[in-house]
């Protein structure tokens, strides 16, 4: 059985459906990226998994004894507690024994890079520090399932890099479900992609599966001048598109292969700037899938 099975999950607020008929599974030890525009229902979905919200219909089944850690998008802390006091309390409330809790809290705070702020009150924390503390409270009890709502969106590029590395190091013994709109990062750490829009799941699968469905691989030949690109297009009967100084050849069953293209270019002694193989980035795929609905 999967670690988490979500079947026909629906959440309704009055007439409005925040999440509708969502079905997916999380396998043990995998990372899943939940991707979608604002208002797609990502936070609602995560809140239901964290047992903060109860579903209107459908069901969530978690493996027996599954421990969960949750990081909200904007974690709020009691401003008069220090980082260590808060993290220790979080550990204890999640069932970590009193003796172990403090040690585990200190280790976790060091792990997220807050070793210099153990005794600082959280009221004086910057946004980035709050995000790190939020991660610390989510992992301090070593949960088997980690739910993260936009864990890196509020961070600067350096912080983002660090937190991504931390998350990747957790992946070995933790199953992670995280929402994000920073798709470069999703591409980096994902075994499964879930695209949501208007409360629906509109595309899912592994990165490879999604890419093979939508990536549209192509070969770009770049010329010195736009006129040369147009001339090349006129002289060849390949399936292609001209855009400013380049031609884009589609690579599919009836399209051309790199070998053919290179052979043609060299035999014709074409004077070009470069040739490259391109696939759509996750961001382009996302925009295309969302627009296609």
């Amino acid at each position: 059985m999967s670690l988490v099975e979500v079947n026909n999950l629906t959440k309704q607020y009055g007439q409005e459906l925040a999440v509708e008929n969502l079905t997916f599974r999380l396998e043990k030890g995998t990372a899943t990226a939940l991707i979608g525009p604002n208002g797609a229902g990502k936070t609602t979905t995560l809140s239901m998994l964290a047992d903060l919200l109860s579903p209107s219909s459908g069901e969530i089944s978690l493996a027996d004894g599954l421990t969960v850690g949750f990081l909200p998008q904007y974690p709020q802390f009691f401003p008069w507690l220090t980082a260590l006091e808060f993290t220790e309390m979080a550990a204890k409330l999640s069932g970590v024994g009193a003796k172990k809790a403090k040690l585990q809290a200190i280790r976790t705070l060091e792990f997220v890079g807050l070793e210099g702020a153990l005794y600082k009150k959280t009221g004086a924390f910057s946004g980035g520090m709050k995000q790190r503390l939020g991660l610390a409270q989510a992992i301090v009890h070593q949960p088997k399932l980690l739910l993260l709502d936009e864990p890196i969106s509020a961070l600067d590029p350096t912080g983002r890099r660090e937190i991504m590395d931390l998350l990747k190091s957790l992946q070995q013994d933790t199953t992670i479900l995280y929402s994000t709109h920073i798709l470069n990062d999703a591409e980096e750490m994902t075994d499964q992609l879930l695209f949501m829009k208007d409360g629906h799941l509109i595309e899912h699968g592994s990165l490879e599966e999604v890419k093979s469905r939508h990536a549209n691989p192509r070969i770009r030949i770049r010329f010195h001048k736009p006129a040369e690109a147009v001339k090349f297009a006129e002289e060849h009967s390949w399936k292609m598109q001209v855009l400013t100084d380049s031609v884009y050849l589609s690579v599919d069953k009836e399209g051309s292969s790199m070998q053919q293209v290179l052979h043609t270019l060299s035999s014709e002694k074409q004077d070009i700037l470069g040739v490259e193989f391109q696939t759509a980035s996750l961001e382009e795929i996302f925009l295309k899938v969302v627009a296609g609905q």
Binding site: L52, F70, F78, G95, Q137
Partner: protein
């Protein structure tokens, strides 16, 4: 109950660090001292404020010590209760609205422990304030007026403590039920006034009404209330407190989805 002690430690830190543990007792001590002091210096105060015709002579009846302490209780009944309701109206609603509750609610939290930890801390501070206020008032009453038996004071404050706990528990339950602290305070005041009005209009024969507790408490100063009525009122008040604790814990759990995520 393990969670109770963890959460109580949090409440303890909160009430120390936001100074509630200092300023609430200060308010009650001030209120307690004011009555005997103002009464004692009344002639001088009137003279200093002027406006009295030359040669006017006023005879002030010296108030008895029980009258002074009853006046202290009246201060607590109005200003004291307002202070407590305002201080604790946001206890649970405030945590939900700021989102600080979220990181507690996503854990396997016992909402009874959660509510009880807040109740215990608020009750401790309120009762300490109440006792310090009455003791300060009692001290100045002895200093400026006549003797009053200490045991009478203990009986009075002990009975009145149950009343204050009832008001406080009502406030905390309202904070668990309603969406924000302002509404919780308004509801606590409304319930307080309505029940008092109902008791005044219809309660003439209902002698074991918890609403009569302040009156019964005051009766200890001059003698003693009718014991069967007094015990009945205390018993009902305790039942109401337990009921409100259960209701508050349930409402805190029921409203957990309303915390800001």
């Amino acid at each position: 109950m393990k969670q109770f002690s963890i959460l109580l430690q949090k409440e303890w830190r909160e009430n120390i660090r936001n100074y509630k543990i200092f300023w609430i007792p200060c308010v009650f001590i001030l209120l307690g001292i004011t009555e005997p002091v103002v009464n004692y210096f009344m002639p001088q105060i009137l003279e200093a404020s002027g406006g009295l015709p030359e040669g006017a002579v006023f005879e002030f009846p010296t108030p008895s010590p029980d009258q002074i302490l009853m006046a202290v209780m009246e201060q607590f009944q109005t200003i004291g209760i307002v202070v407590l309701i305002l201080a604790y109206m946001g206890t649970i609603a405030g945590e939900r609205n700021s989102g600080t509750a979220t990181l507690l609610y996503v854990r396997p939290l016992s909402f009874l422990s959660y509510f009880l930890s807040k109740w215990t801390m608020a009750a401790a501070i309120s009762l300490i304030s109440l006792w310090l206020g009455f003791l300060a008032g009692y001290y100045y009453t002895l200093l400026f007026f006549e003797e009053l038996e200490f045991s009478a004071l203990l009986q009075m404050v002990g009975s009145y403590s149950i009343w204050i706990l009832l008001i406080l528990t009502l406030t905390l339950a309202a904070s668990a039920i309603l969406p924000n602290g302002g509404l919780a305070a308004a509801a606590a005041f409304a319930v307080y006034l309505l029940v008092q009005l109902a008791d005044g209009l219809l309660g003439a024969n209902w002698t074991i009404s918890p609403m009569k507790l302040p009156g019964y408490a005051a009766a200890w100063l001059t003698g003693n209330p009718r014991l069967s009525e007094f015990v009945g009122a205390i018993g009902l008040a305790l039942l109401a407190i337990i009921g409100l604790i259960v209701l508050g814990s349930w409402a805190a759990w029921k409203n957990k989805a309303k915390t800001k995520v």
